[in-house]
């Protein structure tokens, strides 16, 4: 059986899973048994069939499991978003269509040799910066929840930093590949362009209060630097700088101090007056940690096998959402309630296998740029997943960032589909050489 045929077989399974999940949500919502969900599953399956056929034409020998895993994660995410807010789900569905279009465009444009990207490395570095800087511009930028990350064009809302991440990884992979020999020597002047672009990125991120992304960019930078030079010293220096920087930010920024307090002491004993989003003061047991505490209760409520999709409790009796940002940053705790430990463990396994297969691709390809790009993209995916799920489970302080493929958020979905296309291109190269 060829790789693509195997992919098709497993996509059918994903279609079945999505259909079951959506049927469950639909029936729980309508409280009557109906087959109305079938058309949704059909649409979803057709969309992935398109992605599959583009893959068949452009990357026939690439890894057959990455696309189905991405399809499963988007399917589960979309189902949960529909369950929380059908209007959002419609918009997210549209973004998935755009994502698949971006995926196909990337595959078609780069099907002959994606390594020519290597010669445009500075273009990628500068566009990463431009994308990160876009939300800070006065006319189109918009800040939500204290972080200025969004760009508005008409009614369209976009978070360009997600695409900036991919451009940055391509830049780092290309630059480090061409300079790896001299960089390993450790002369400062060879680091010039690298530190300039990366330093600007960090400045922009810190200035826009996007700490989650700052952490992500920092981690990706260190990982690719280590992969290119194999010098643990750089990782050590990087970690030290990180600790110093984190301590500095902690001292100077109230926002960060409160994140750490919320992380270490989410439960308070006395109700305190607490400003809510509507501008009202309410007596609440937990104030700033309200969101995190409610999310922990939501996870606990799920227990071993969950309430079942569509039957979880996310709203107060007056219909207000119990947890703010439930379908973006906190979608994991919504899923944990409805799918239980068994279900989210399965999702974590899928995320993990996505990472394992990504690293496998990096292992099996034989040229440096492809290796660094594949490993960098995969590492970024893994670290992003860790930062948000670790934050929700109170393993590390919470910083808002999307859960790849699952969270509500157009830019995140589109960026992750392009990332997926990149991994498939590298995989194709590795497998056709064999």
């Amino acid at each position: 059986m060829s790789a693509r045929t195997r992919e098709l077989a497993i996509l059918v399974l994903v279609g079945l899973i999505t259909m079951t999940g959506f049927a469950s949500v639909y029936i729980a919502r309508q409280n009557e048994i109906s087959a109305g969900s079938l058309s949704y599953a059909g649409f979803f399956f057709a969309l992935y069939l398109v992605a599959h056929f583009v893959g068949r034409l452009t990357v026939p020998d690439a890894d057959p499991y990455l696309l189905p895993m991405a399809a499963l994660l988007t399917g589960v995410g979309l189902t949960e978003i529909y369950r929380l807010n059908p209007t959002d789900a419609l918009r997210q569905g549209l973004w998935v269509v755009i994502g698949v279009a971006g995926f196909s465009a990337t595959l078609i444009a780069l099907r002959h040799d994606f390594r020519r990207l290597e010669s445009y490395k500075y273009l990628f570095g500068l566009s990463a910066l431009a994308l990160l800087f876009l939300p800070a511009l006065p006319k189109i930028g918009r800040s939500i929840n204290g972080a200025r990350l969004w760009v508005h064009v008409g009614s369209l809302q976009f978070q360009p930093g997600e695409l900036g991440k991919i451009a940055m990884i391509v830049f780092l992979a290309a630059y480090l590949h061409s300079k790896q020999e001299v960089l390993a020597l450790g002369r400062l002047k060879d680091f010039g362009p690298l530190l300039a672009i990366w330093g600007c990125a960090m400045l922009v991120l810190v200035a826009t209060h996007d700490l989650g992304s700052a952490l992500l960019f920092f981690g990706i930078f260190l990982a690719i630097l280590y992969l290119a030079t194999s010098r643990l010293l750089y990782v050590g220096v990087g970690m030290t700088l990180f600790l110093v920087g984190a301590a500095g930010v902690y001292e100077t920024t109230a926002h960060v101090r409160s994140r750490v307090t919320i992380w270490l002491h989410p439960w308070t004993t006395q109700p305190v007056p607490c400003p809510t989003r509507g501008g009202l003061l309410m007596q609440r047991q937990e104030c700033e940690s309200f969101q995190l505490v409610k999310s922990l209760y939501s996870i606990a409520q799920g227990g071993f096998s969950g309430t079942g999709l569509g039957k979880g409790t996310f709203t107060l009796t007056n219909g207000k959402l119990l947890i703010p940002d439930l379908n973006t940053d906190f979608i994991f705790s919504a899923l944990a309630q409805e799918l239980g430990l068994v279900g989210v463990a399965a999702l974590l396994l899928v995320l993990m296998f996505f990472v394992v297969r990504g690293f496998n691709i990096a292992l099996s390809v034989d040229d440096g740029f492809s290796k660094l790009a594949a490993a960098g993209l995969t590492f970024g995916f893994a670290l992003q997943t860790f930062i948000i799920i670790g934050g929700i489970l109170r393993l590390i302080p919470l910083t808002g960032i999307t859960l790849p493929f699952i969270s509500y958020g157009g830019s995140s979905v589109v960026a992750n589909f392009i990332l997926l296309a990149g991994l498939l291109l590298v995989s194709q190269r590795a497998n056709e050489a064999r």
Partner: protein
């Protein structure tokens, strides 16, 4: 009405179990595929140039010991330095095997890097073998590996 809501609950329970079950069927398929694809020792994806060629503390790359050869003397040691070494029948190679009729003009490249000594076939006619397996891409040598070029066998030692 009660009966109807009972059956809705039953369907929801069935869907919940089916969903979780199918999720694990999916994972099982992927794990099975991963197990099937487990190959012989994986290479490293750390790109590791041996950039500190002139540093004293750079690790010594090791040597190749001739096991059998129509050309070189048995037991002869080829110490590897930090520079890459080409092996082949032609006169321009760093290590020349001019009596070995099965070796190609430019046969293989031995490249000591920071993460070990790598062997690459340079498009030879008869192939380069490590422990009897023909190389398809570059591979890292482990101590004790037998490298076959033409009719010459080398053992890699630290």
């Amino acid at each position: 009405m009660v009966a109807a809501s009972m059956s809705v609950d039953a369907v929801l329970l069935a869907l919940k179990i089916a969903f979780l079950f199918l999720l694990y069927v999916f994972i099982w398929r992927i794990v099975r595929a991963a197990a099937r694809e487990m190959r012989a020792p994986q290479d490293s994806f750390v790109l590791a140039p041996l950039a500190e060629r002139h540093e004293k503390r750079a690790p010594r790359p090791g040597m190749l010991v001739v096991v059998s050869s129509p050309d070189l003397e048995e037991g002869q040691r080829v110490e590897l330095a930090h520079e890459a070494v080409t092996i082949g029948r032609g006169p321009l190679n760093d290590l020349q095997l001019d009596q070995d009729d099965f070796a190609s003009g430019k046969h293989a490249l031995i490249d000591p890097r920071r993460d070990g000594v790598w062997v690459e076939d340079l498009g030879s006619t008869n192939g380069t073998f490590i422990n009897g397996v023909r190389l398809s891409s570059s591979r890292r040598l482990a101590p004790g590996d037998v490298l076959r070029i033409g009719e010459t066998d080398f053992r890699y030692e630290r």
